[in-house]
Subunit: 424 residues, 2 copies
């Protein structure tokens, strides 16, 4: 199956490949850990593979730099913040290169500007436009491990930019795309994507593969293994993406695939995601007329509040109820906006909400071709006496909002009923 070339075990079939490997802040969080990463990379080189490494700042460093900047400006100037924060990765690439050189490997570090990773000029959240990869190819041909600073780039005027939190994943995927790498390996502190959080369900197990779309749903639902933008990027450029643990020697991690695997009997449901950082708000007795959704959510968006689920059912007598969820931290502020700006303006009957809720979702490409998944989910929850407050569905996901106190129970029973308790 796909991904075999990316296996760590090259004893039997020796396929020389080009890997882009990304190591996050925790993986390079100390001298010992950086040396450990160097040892791991050296093994790949010894097997004849070409390796491009993307590293983040040592864990804690980015926050330290941001805190320092805030001593100067409550909201640090974005251009200057990027100049400063980008030093975190610059230190990491130099240290990892030294560690590699000290092991006898050839290695060379690059900042984003040196590569150069061209971005737009949206400081602190720039997007990659192009990568000049020719120098890296030359280094690779010369047997060099290329160590690239993640999370950063340079705009066309030479200003330093950063891609925003988690941007190192995007750097890795973009480099893999530009270089036509055989696999992009994201090393992190978990050994792959799980059916759900093992802290809640001890029987949760690692998925050997997950589809791109499932991964997107899992990530946006809070699985947080990969930055969502990097997964989109990988999908767009068909980069083979694997999530692995940097602390385990032999793990195969989870491969993210971009086509439904027709040869395999897939599980219908791949995982159970959950999120307890949300709050729900319902505007009651809303006139059921065109433009009403915009009139409700416009002021919320103007206040820079992100809305997650949005639900509007069919109305009665020209009236309807309009519900949505937001981050729990924005609950009071959003209630304020709705009560003071929206309700009088649109003539709604009332605004109610609650911040003691949780969202639980079942995710799986298999549900496309299977009926009865939703009813199975709802019945299971009903049997446990869990009331469903809101429902939202997509092609490969069903999300429900329940009282927060039932979240763990809901995740456990759904994990069991969809047969995720045993490895498939």
């Amino acid at each position: 199956m796909a991904g075999a070339a990316g296996r760590l075990d090259t004893r039997h079939i020796h396929i020389v490949a080009l890997f882009v490997q990304k190591y996050g802040g925790t993986s390079v969080g100390s001298t010992e850990r950086i040396k450990n990463v160097a040892r791991r990379i050296a093994k790949f080189r010894a097997a004849g593979h070409q390796v491009v490494v993307v590293v983040s700042a040592m864990s804690g460093e980015t926050n330290r730099l941001i805190a320092l900047a805030r001593e100067f400006q409550a909201i640090p100037h974005p251009r200057e913040l990027d100049v400063m924060v980008s030093t975190g990765e610059q230190v990491s690439v130099a240290l990892l290169s030294m560690a590699l050189i000290d092991r006898g490997a050839k290695a060379k570090s690059y900042t984003g500007a040196q590569v150069r990773i061209l971005t737009d000029n949206a400081y602190t959240k720039a997007r990659i436009l192009r990568i000049d990869e020719e120098r890296l190819r030359t280094d690779l041909k010369e047997g060099c491990v290329v160590v690239v600073a993640g999370f950063q780039g340079v705009d066309e005027n030479g200003n330093i930019t950063t891609l925003g939190r988690g941007g190192s994943d995007t750097t890795a995927v973009a480099l893999a795309a530009a270089l036509g790498a055989d696999e992009c390996q994201i090393y992190t502190d978990v050994d792959g994507v799980y059916t759900t959080d093992p802290r809640i369900v001890p029987e949760a197990h690692r998925l050997s593969t997950v589809t791109f779309e499932e991964m997107l749903e899992m990530a946006s639902l809070g699985s947080k293994v990969l930055q969502i933008r990097s997964v989109e990027f990988a999908g767009k450029y068909k980069v083979k993406l694997r999530v692995l643990s940097s602390f385990e020697e032999e793990g195969q991690g989870t491969l993210i695939t971009f086509e439904e695997d027709k040869d395999m009997e897939r599980a219908i449901i791949s995982g159970i995601a959950f999120n307890r950082d949300e709050a729900k708000i319902t505007v009651l007795g809303v006139p059921d007329r065109p433009g009403i959704a915009y009139q409700i959510l416009g002021p919320v968006a103007d206040a820079n509040i992100d809305v997650d689920m949005i639900i509007q059912n069919v109305g009665h007598d020209g009236m309807t109820d309009f519900s949505f969820t937001i981050n729990r931290n924005e609950f009071e502020r959003t209630m304020d906006i709705l009560k003071n700006q929206v309700q009088p303006h649109i003539g709604a009957r009332g605004v109610v909400g609650g911040n003691r809720i949780a969202k639980v979702s079942i995710v799986g490409v298999g549900m496309r071709s299977h009926v009865g998944i939703a009813s199975k989910m709802f019945r299971t929850l009903a049997e446990e006496g869990i009331n469903i407050q809101m429902i939202s569905t997509s092609e490969i996901k069903i999300s429900v909002v329940v009282d927060e106190k039932y979240m763990e129970l809901a995740v456990r029973v759904l994990h069991k009923v969809f047969e995720l308790d045993q490895p498939s």
Copy 2:
């Protein structure tokens, strides 16, 4: 006189000027100090001056980074060390720019690579080849304070380089030369160049001017106010250079001049320098023949030991004595080399040495045109019972080696006898 344009006091004559100001690690050693520097620069801007600022890393930061690198390689790879160490100034320029912007000033930071400050590729001790100053000019015209990272540049292949310790002074002088600045102001933790160290002679006072050549002699003799290379650079490009305190508001510092000031009645001697970090070695009974100096000092240079004073007197009967001084830390190693490699090879009678010595020098361009300075120095020391072990002279300097225990006494009596105790 020269330098009036550079005065802080612009109340009486308003001359709009372009200043390059350099602030060292101590001056930007904390949040408060960086804010203080921003306040100072804002005053210059408010007076209508254009300001380019060069900053070092916050004090301690460069050492912290080097120590971190050494956890990976005993001798860190020079290219990677430069990538890493250069982040120190990168953080400083961003912070100072934020502090300026927070005060309402326009400011923009630049790394050495961004400017770009083109250097050769001698990592950790690169030399500046050229500065592309056009972007800085544009920023200055737009009323921007340009904040440039000191100590760093980029080679023609885009590799990050550093200029070596104290290189920020050189960056400042090179920028001043490239921009044709009216004055290059080096802010430091002392308020100028003194006649000698006030800790030894309380009557020592600040010189309002010192010539380039005097400064060179004072710096190399251990006054350590400015990096010697930056002074040479300033001389070569006729940059008006002023040393000032970043902790005092109204000081005029010391202006370094490049021509003997013919209008002024100058003091004959400008200062008394001293150095107790040396050791002396004498090779006795050396055959007085061509090439002997090389045969003695070649093996010393091969061991990377710097030699300071070198003295060889006329010989007798085909034999002579050959003496030199070295850093005290190298004393044992140098004695070893001479006894085991040099002495048997050249057939010298013996090797003797001592590391309890100090070098005391009087410096002044005035001595060129005055006779009797040397004899006055020697007589003064003799009257105090201080035996002179070695003598070396240049056009504007006379250095003597004495027993270390007499160093302070020698400095004090010379400071008095050459009338440096009162401001001229």
